[in-house]
Symmetry: C2
Subunit: 362 residues, 2 copies
């Protein structure tokens, strides 16, 4: 990491016009040395470590964009420290949103990004020229055999991926060690991949991946903001053959701009970035979703692109519109609305599969 490398963080700050410059300078200090500059004796700290205010733009309506250059040396290669230096203390101030960050190439190389990315996922699944499909095993509270039955029915409908609901942890009603072998067995011999959801501390998650691998699983999911960014990144490093889905739980949309999760989860190594799409239950706008998908799979420091997986309330009749919006390098994740079909679940899953396969992109 070059000593001079800087990240460029963009914050949206609510302020009176007369106060914004002082507020911006305070933000630069808060996100770097967090102390009065007058108390710093070392010239090198002032020049190389203190956050540098690079610009203020008036966004109108009392909002300003503040651009701060953060020394890459304060982050090193630790993912949690990246979040700490971008928004650690400022997340406690309610006048500021972390809007975006431009990363130096060193950071991209150091973190590594997705190990498989879109091309790797397609290669493994043997799927080209169409979007990918996914659904979720839920509700939590079902016994492992019932979850496995759902998995089998999704598989018979031809879905590419069936993931644990992110609410499935290691509860007594469906222990990880009980449900993963059953769900993996339920899709065995089909083209469907089962994706267990990891939970707990790092050691627990390592054991969960080892257990899943023993059952032939090669793809898992975790929520970086729940498991801790450094632990997510540690799993990606420790299991290079595994494809990782990132779930946005606890992502705090209103304070960390949603599109940024596409970039940061990718940097940490997520091959698939799940997010709530516009028109669903989460109130994201089409522009927000377009930006998130672009951050997940657009050019970024030479890293593999991540596959964006819109979710959160997609009904089958919206699939053509969603596909046109996101394009072919997309995984559609439909959960509850397939489960509404109940005894017709396999048929509904098959209709989902057919619609995605037959779609002609506008």
């Amino acid at each position: 990491m070059s000593a001079a490398a800087r990240l460029h963080a963009f914050y949206h700050v609510r302020s009176e016009p007369a106060a914004i410059e002082a507020r911006a300078r305070a933000l630069a200090v808060e996100q770097s040395v967090e102390m009065p500059l007058a108390a710093i004796e070392e010239p090198s700290v002032l020049s190389d470590i203190v956050g540098r205010l690079d610009g203020i733009a008036d966004l109108g309506a009392g909002m300003f964009e503040v651009r701060i250059a953060i020394a890459a040396s304060t982050i090193g290669v630790d993912a949690a420290q990246l979040f700490n230096m971008l928004f650690g203390n400022s997340s406690l101030q309610d006048d500021v949103v972390l809007h975006d960050v431009e990363l130096p190439e060193d950071i991209g190389r150091a973190f590594g990004g997705p190990r498989h990315g879109i091309a790797g996922i397609r290669e493994r699944a043997g799927i080209h020229g169409r979007a990918l499909t996914c659904s979720a095993l839920k509700p939590q509270g079902l016994a492992p055999a019932r979850l496995a039955d759902l998995a089998a029915r999704f598989a018979s409908g031809g879905l590419d991926f069936v993931k644990d609901d992110h609410g499935l942890a290691d509860q007594f009603f469906s222990r990880f060690a009980d449900r993963v072998p059953l769900c993996a067995a339920a899709v065995r011999g089909t083209a469907t991949r089962y994706i267990p959801s990891l939970s707990g501390d790092l050691e627990t998650m390592r054991r969960q991946i080892a257990l899943a691998c023993n059952e032939g699983v090669d793809t898992v999911m975790a929520a970086p903001m729940l498991v801790g960014p450094s632990n997510f990144a540690a799993l990606v490093r420790a299991f290079p053959d595994i494809v990782f889905f990132a779930h946005p739980a606890l992502g705090g949309a209103a304070r960390i701009a949603p599109p940024l999760l596409g970039k940061l989860f990718r940097l940490m190594g997520a091959d698939v970035v799940i997010f709530p799409t516009y028109g669903g239950r989460f109130g994201y706008t089409p522009d927000t979703c377009r930006a998130l998908a672009a951050m997940a799979r657009g050019d970024l420091l030479g890293l593999h692109p991540s596959l964006p997986a819109p979710a959160g309330g997609i009904a089958l009749d919206r699939v053509p519109e969603i596909l046109d919006f996101y394009g072919v390098d997309t995984m559609l994740l439909i959960g509850g609305s397939l489960l509404l079909a109940r005894e017709r679940l396999s048929d509904e899953a098959a209709a989902f599969t057919r619609t995605v396969a037959a779609h002609v992109y506008r």
Copy 2:
């Protein structure tokens, strides 16, 4: 964990009056099964797992308090899963704030809370009848020997605790393995305790604690929202002799009500809960701070009380006011304003020490 036990989560939701009941019901579903209730076939899931809407109160000005009973069985004993079920998906919706949670006794027993708490900290330090004092080693960018020099000067001023700034991770300019032995040595033979800040993934933090223990350190700090709540809890379980400080970085105050961190960090085992006080840089009100301190050290499921540590811009001349406000079971954390004294640092630290020791509580 009894199958019927419920947590009572309180959300503040912005809504039109006509829409609040539907919004509240949607929130109960989002934070439990996350699927259409019509797709759930099992009566036991509907009765025992789905979040139960227990009440809606109009707070005025378009805000409502929504009370939802969440099944304790969906959480088990995993700290990240606690956050997931309280606010995982809803953190992505910008009309809702997690305001409070009432926990069943089972959860308290299962998590265990602080292993030492206020009494344990006082016993170890031999300090009774006065508040405790703390300062921080910064700025980041200083070499380990310079940080150790600061620690020595704080110690000569008689502070009880000197902690790493939460920005100190494992950067090349002050590697954990380099600075911890030097800083620990700098306070050895004094009454001052040095508190290293942990960072990285769980295994890295375990090694950091082991290294610190070898240097005679018995107290450490970590930010639960950065390291992942489950990993913080895992460290507390793995190192029962260590006192843990919890730093609020990435706590996202505007979406998770600040006082709640006092309760949740305590539940996970933090002996000391650091938070930004009113009148400093963070805009918390006195009511917010009073509530946070009450959650940290008031009655909670029979758990040890945590020591509240107000911080974030306290100047020496505010110490009497702050002590009167928080009372004697408090740790005052003053960083930047002591460092402003520069060559007079030890004297300023000694003045801080004297002021706290001599304070007569109103």
